[in-house]
Symmetry: D3
Subunit: 66 residues, 6 copies
Amino acid sequence: MPYVNIRITPGATEEQKAELIAGTTDLLVKVLNKNPASTFVVIDEVPAENWGTGGISVAARDRRTG
Amino acid sequence: MPYVNIRITPGATEEQKAELIAGTTDLLVKVLNKNPASTFVVIDEVPAENWGTGGISVAARDRRTG
Amino acid sequence: MPYVNIRITPGATEEQKAELIAGTTDLLVKVLNKNPASTFVVIDEVPAENWGTGGISVAARDRRTG
Amino acid sequence: MPYVNIRITPGATEEQKAELIAGTTDLLVKVLNKNPASTFVVIDEVPAENWGTGGISVAARDRRTG
Amino acid sequence: MPYVNIRITPGATEEQKAELIAGTTDLLVKVLNKNPASTFVVIDEVPAENWGTGGISVAARDRRTG
Amino acid sequence: MPYVNIRITPGATEEQKAELIAGTTDLLVKVLNKNPASTFVVIDEVPAENWGTGGISVAARDRRTG
């Protein structure tokens, strides 16, 4: 019964999110023999101004380097 | 000082969310004698295309069975 | 397919944790008609020195008031 | 490589969020000598009707006391 | 800069955990072209008595079916 | 009523954890005028073999560079 939470900045298409869900579930089946039916994958999309790294937000960093 | 995070797909009304908050808080008071004032309940609503189970998203599953 | 994460300081017995799991699941069934089989409840026990409120840890607060 | 998740009700400006990101990163550098480049700070804004304390949502509480 | 949190019951070996970390990172590189250096994967091991599904803990379920 | 979750690898002393709790709480008071009494800070210590970056665990990386 794994629970996986993937947090990314926005912009992934529904198809890419489907690939993340399928790929993560396959990995847990392959590595730990988990049951896919009881494997949850939850994707959170975090706005770039709410995600910080190196002490500044991704939004601010992209403005500087854009 | 419990912290409870409830993650669901969207669609709950404000009244239903109020019931979840009240019911969870009551449970922690009853079972563990926690102080309601220092019990936090946070509900996250996760879009159906971002929630996977059985290797596919809830959105895709609902389209198949819809 | 709800996912619930309950974070508490240590000290709950296995029986109390079972009551939290059963009670939370019942609440989601009753309020939102969720399927218990696809309802996950995960309890995290956080050491008192790692939990802060009012700017100090619960461990420090308990030593002051103990 | 710390990961910090700050959950607040909405209303912070982008500038205030930048201060939270910078301040949290500085704190981890100062206290634990962490590398800012590998310090993530993620801010989640939780709607007031989804945040409960004392058994009722912040939205309901604000209506009562408003 | 993705952050991935994988929550499982205990029992994975260090080698299996390394496979989860490598596989998840590869997936994010392949699907979303993310930079591995800024991809965090954090595994949490949750005791079986703290993980509930179907309204009972995994520990209790395993005792019934064991 | 902010909730802050700080995830680090083990090794911080109780005094350092107290500084993280106090510093984070002060920051939320200063930037957003939050009430310290309803500000929770929870520190999770994640074993180095459970934390991955760049596709390998911190434990494996430290063995290579150690």
